[in-house]
């Protein structure tokens, strides 16, 4: 299983990411709906990094590694930009998103609802965001 992907920091790389996840996750014990959701959550985190931490600079890159163990799948997203710790951001209320006509914030809600665990680590200029999806019991 090819489990590592480098993405250039441009939004056009997101479709490449989905294609990679589609192939890689086809060997994983999740159903179609779960696979779709996990793909979405990983994309949301990568899109956030590409747009906010790297200002869509295609010369910069982020790295995704997919690891599998008995319990589930782990998506490890590494970058060297300004740290964006998902856990520091409260998911906004949906009502708030509508009233303030915000276009952001929804991605964070999705990631937090879809993934079972989120870990964030930042050291020596390197940020690692770990998204964990458990296999159904």
């Amino acid at each position: 299983m090819k489990n590592k992907l480098h993405l250039n920091c441009q939004t056009s790389a997101l479709s490449e990411l989905r294609t990679f996840l589609h192939v890689t996750l086809s060997e994983v014990q999740l159903n179609d709906i779960e696979r779709h959701q996990v793909t979405l959550a990983v994309e949301e985190v990568c899109a956030n990094l590409i747009i906010h931490s790297h200002s869509c600079n295609p010369k910069e890159r982020i790295e995704l590694e997919i690891l599998k163990n008995r319990k589930g799948v782990i998506f490890e997203i590494t970058d060297q930009g300004e740290a964006f710790n998902l856990l520091d951001y409260d998911a906004p209320e949906l009502k708030q998103v509508v009233e303030e006509k915000r276009k952001g914030g929804l991605g964070i809600i999705l990631v937090k609802k879809i993934m079972d665990e989120i870990e964030f680590e930042s050291k020596n200029g390197k940020n690692i965001c770990r998204l964990i999806k458990n296999f159904p019991a």
Partner: protein
């Protein structure tokens, strides 16, 4: 890749989404909806039969117009979404804010019932 098709049928304006909406192309969707509002539509039917994927960038576009639609009395209904995409709307609770129906006939009926 995202392709948009507009169609006018009587009082209804139809916007067909073909492909995937993500952060690279959600602006195109935003512009299309803005143009429709400027043209003075009253009913917007979104055809999602060929929409295979939508991320928060695209969902955010729909969300950002909900208030304006309410103020201007514009009705929006989305129809034909596949099961995977519907689930994404449901995770966010968007199915409570935007009517999601099965097909175009149901969408038209929904818009014109009082």
């Amino acid at each position: 890749m995202l392709q948009l098709e507009k169609q006018k049928k009587g009082k209804n304006d139809l916007l067909r989404l073909i492909g995937e909406v993500d952060a690279s192309n959600s602006l195109i969707l935003d512009q299309a909806i803005q143009e429709l509002i400027q043209a003075g539509i009253s009913t917007l039917l979104i055809d999602g039969n060929k929409l295979t994927y939508i991320s928060s960038a695209g969902l955010g576009v729909f969300m950002s117009y909900l208030e304006e639609f309410k103020e201007k009395g514009i009705r929006m209904v989305i129809f034909g979404l596949n099961e995977q995409v519907i689930e994404v709307f449901k995770i966010l609770g968007l199915d409570k804010l935007i009517p999601l129906v099965k097909d175009q006939a149901e969408a038209e009926a929904h818009c014109h019932e009082e």
